[in-house]
Assembly symmetry: C2
Homo-oligomer: 151 residues x 2
DNA sequence: ATCAGTTGTAACATATAGAGTAACATTAGA
DNA sequence: TCTAATGTTACTCTATATGTTACAACTGAT
C-alpha cells in the first residue's frame, strides 16, 4: 500500500508551531519545513483544529496550540488526522457460504481490536512534549558533533 | 491510504487449510471462500511458504501447515505477508535546513518503534489456533440461533 | 478604503500500490 | 498421454494519498 504520512506530518506541524512560536508560522513556511505544500498543511491544520489541538485565525498566520505539549499525546494527533484510525484492516468481502468466510470477519475484528488497543495505549503515553524534547536533544548532539569535527 | 487485506486474507487461507484439511484445497477453492482470485491466493501462499508456515507441492492441491496452529501467531503471519511490516510511517522527505525537519525523522522512528513493539507483542500472543477456535464458536452460535428461530 | 498576505476550501491532476486478470511453463497423478 | 494443479510473470484496473491550482473570505497595515 502507499503509506500515509499524515500522522508524521501533523506531528511535524505541531512541533514546528511550538518551536518557532515567535517566527513565521504561515502554512507556506511550515510547508517548506515539511517539504510539502501549503494546502496540505492547511488541510492537516483543519483536522487538528477540529480535534481541538489547535486554534487558527483566517487571514493571520498565527496558529496556536490550545494546550501544553505535555498534554497532547501521539494518540490525540493520530485520532485527529487519521480518518479511519485503524492499523489493521479486515477484508469485508468474504464468502458467507463458507464456515471461514462467514465467521472470520468478526473473529479478526476482535483480534485486531486487541492489537489496536495495545498500540493506542503506547501512543497515549508518548507526548508532543517528549517528542519535542527528543528533537532538541538530537539537535544539540548534532551541533556538538559539528563543533567537534571543525576543531 | 488504501487498506491492505493481505494479513486478513492470509489468516483466512491458513484457517481454511486447517478447517478443510480433507477437502478441496486448490487455490481456486480457497479463492472462492476469500472472494478473491486464485493468483492472489497463490501469491499469499508463496509468502507463507517462504516464512516456513506452509508447504505446497506444484501440481497437487495439497497445502499443509508446517506446524500446529497453536504454534503459529498472528505476528508470524503478519511478518510473512506484509513486506514492510510497519504500522506507522515516517515522512522521510523533510527539510534538513530546519531544526524540526532535521531531527523529526529519527525522533518519530524511535516513537513508532515503541508503538510497533507494543502491537507486535500483542500479535505474538494471538495464535492461529485461538482464531480458529473463535471461528468455530461463532459458527456454533449461529447454528444454535438458526435452530432456535426455526422452531 | 485599499492592498498585500493569509487562511479556508474546493476542484482537479498525478503517482503509486493493492488487487484483478490472463497467460503459460512446470509438475503430479490418473 | 491427459488433466488439473501450482509457480510465476506481465499487464490492467482502481482507489487514494498527495500535489497543484484557484479563489472567496478575512486580517492588519498603509
Amino acid at each position: 500500500m502507499r503509506y500515509s504520512h499524515r500522522l508524521s506530518d501533523a506531528v511535524h506541524v505541531l512541533a514546528y508551531i511550538d518551536i518557532y512560536h515567535d517566527g513565521n508560522l504561515s502554512s507556506t513556511a511550515i510547508a517548506a519545513s515539511v517539504e510539502s505544500n501549503p494546502a496540505l498543511v492547511r488541510r492537516l491544520m483543519v483536522a487538528l483544529r477540529r480535534a481541538g489541538l489547535l486554534t487558527t485565525q483566517q487571514g493571520t498566520a498565527q496558529p496556536r496550540l490550545t494546550r501544553d505539549p505535555a498534554a497532547i499525546s501521539l494518540l490525540d494527533v493520530y485520532q485527529a488526522v487519521e480518518e479511519d484510525g485503524r492499523l489493521l484492516h479486515v477484508d469485508d468481502k468474504t464468502n458467507l457460504q463458507c464456515i471461514v468466510g462467514r465467521n472470520i470477519q468478526e473473529t479478526l475484528r476482535t483480534a485486531y481490536d486487541e492489537v489496536q488497543q495495545a498500540a493506542e495505549a503506547k501512543m497515549a503515553r508518548i507526548t508532543l512534549a517528549s517528542l519535542i524534547k527528543t528533537i532538541w536533544t538530537r539537535e544539540h548532539e548534532k551541533r556538538a558533533a559539528e563543533e567537534d569535527s571543525s576543531r
